[in-house]
Symmetry: C2
Subunit: 208 residues, 2 copies
DNA sequence: CTATAAAGTGAAGCGCAATTCACATTATGA
DNA sequence: TCATAATGTGAATTGCGCTTCACTTTATAG
């Protein structure tokens, strides 16, 4: 990573860009892509509209930059969570934990992310949604690998395909996060609440 | 239900209305609310734009009518699925089954429904999304009641709160449906694949 | 068949918001 | 200090798409 290569001016521009994206993030997540105007974003960021266009070719590019940059950050964090431990259960626990932490501290982003990856994305003509979905798919595959390894090692029972389990785990996290977003419930303090649903069989063994 | 009260003309109008909504459904689900124009919808439905406005006050009302009518149908079907059997496991099985069936045969609708209930809904100024979310919430509560009753009767173990289990089960279905929508995978033939994730504990019991 | 009403049409009006660009302001450095 | 370039500005332009409504077509009934 080139670090100190940046002149004062360049750092300043980075900062401005960042502030524009922050304003955009807030408005897009509040009102959606089509209901947030460039005018508003400019005001919120305390720039003139024209200045936004010095940084971004158009509204769509701005939105793309916003979403992809955040999504990258997010996926890097999730990936790292899977690397912390060698133990499969710990890996899953960390995944749930980090996913919750990152989302809860970026609730503007979470709205956009869900809108793009879970609802049909209707904001942008093409490309962005499939790009994000691929990122997400890769992440699910990495989680699937954890399940697979746990099975190979005899740690997990083979109650379903690893990929299905990964989809299931990820969707559980999302469901609880959505609930939290809607203020219906809190995201579980402990990842174990989510893990338990997987790890404990619900049905009472038939004792005929 | 008033049935045969309709004159020929009135039946005709119902039919026209239905065709308009079908065209709208297709375009909204393909391109999203803001990218589907009334012009296009009119062409698709083989009416003039003006005629659409004889049936719907404006674009937003049309969209609302579309989504709420479909969502009602859908929730009625789901509710009925829970009534088919007395047995808790069967009730859950039917829920999963019917949810899959209804969605798979209305894949245009599923896109809109997910966009409205799972992503942040940015299409409509106010009201619709919260209305749908409430419907959905009530459905989840009904599923939660099934879990609760199963626990009371000693059929289920108390591995998590009934409401959490219901959220979990519902989100699993959605995750598999989303996967199917994206063409990554098929929705499980049998509801048991989803149920197994709940009913079988994943972790191998420690045998020290 | 004719008059009247009901239904259907689509070109034109209108407002909104993305984008542009001529100008103003600020920074640079000679 | 002043000339020049880089940056920032926001009013004006532009185009799009919802909505309207005067008109045409079709149905009804006398």
């Amino acid at each position: 990573m080139p670090e100190k290569k940046l002149s004062r001016r360049e750092r300043e521009k980075q900062q401005q860009r960042k502030e524009m994206l922050e304003a955009a993030m807030q408005l897009f997540s509040e009102k959606g892509y089509h209901n947030a105007s460039m005018q508003e974003i400019a005001e919120q960021a305390e720039f003139a509209v024209g200045t936004l266009y010095k940084f971004f070719k158009n509204k769509e590019e701005m939105y793309k930059a916003l979403v992809t940059e955040q999504a990258d950050r997010f996926h890097v964090a999730l990936g790292a969570a899977l690397e912390i431990s060698e133990d499969e259960v710990e890996q899953l626990r960390n995944y749930i934990q980090v996913k919750g932490e990152v989302f809860m501290s970026n609730d503007s982003f979470i709205r956009l992310y869900f809108a793009e990856t879970r609802g049909a994305s209707f904001n942008i003509k093409a490309g962005l949604d499939s790009e994000l979905r691929d990122l997400h798919y890769q992440m699910v595959q990495r989680v699937a690998a954890v399940f697979a390894r746990g099975m190979e090692r005899g740690r997990f029972q083979q109650i379903a395909e690893p990929y299905h389990l990964a989809v299931a785990l990820d969707s559980l996290c999302n469901a609880f996060l959505t609930n939290w977003l809607e203020g219906r419930d809190s995201y579980p303090e402990s990842p174990d609440i989510i893990l338990n649903i997987f790890f404990q069989g619900l049905l009472v063994p038939e004792s005929l």
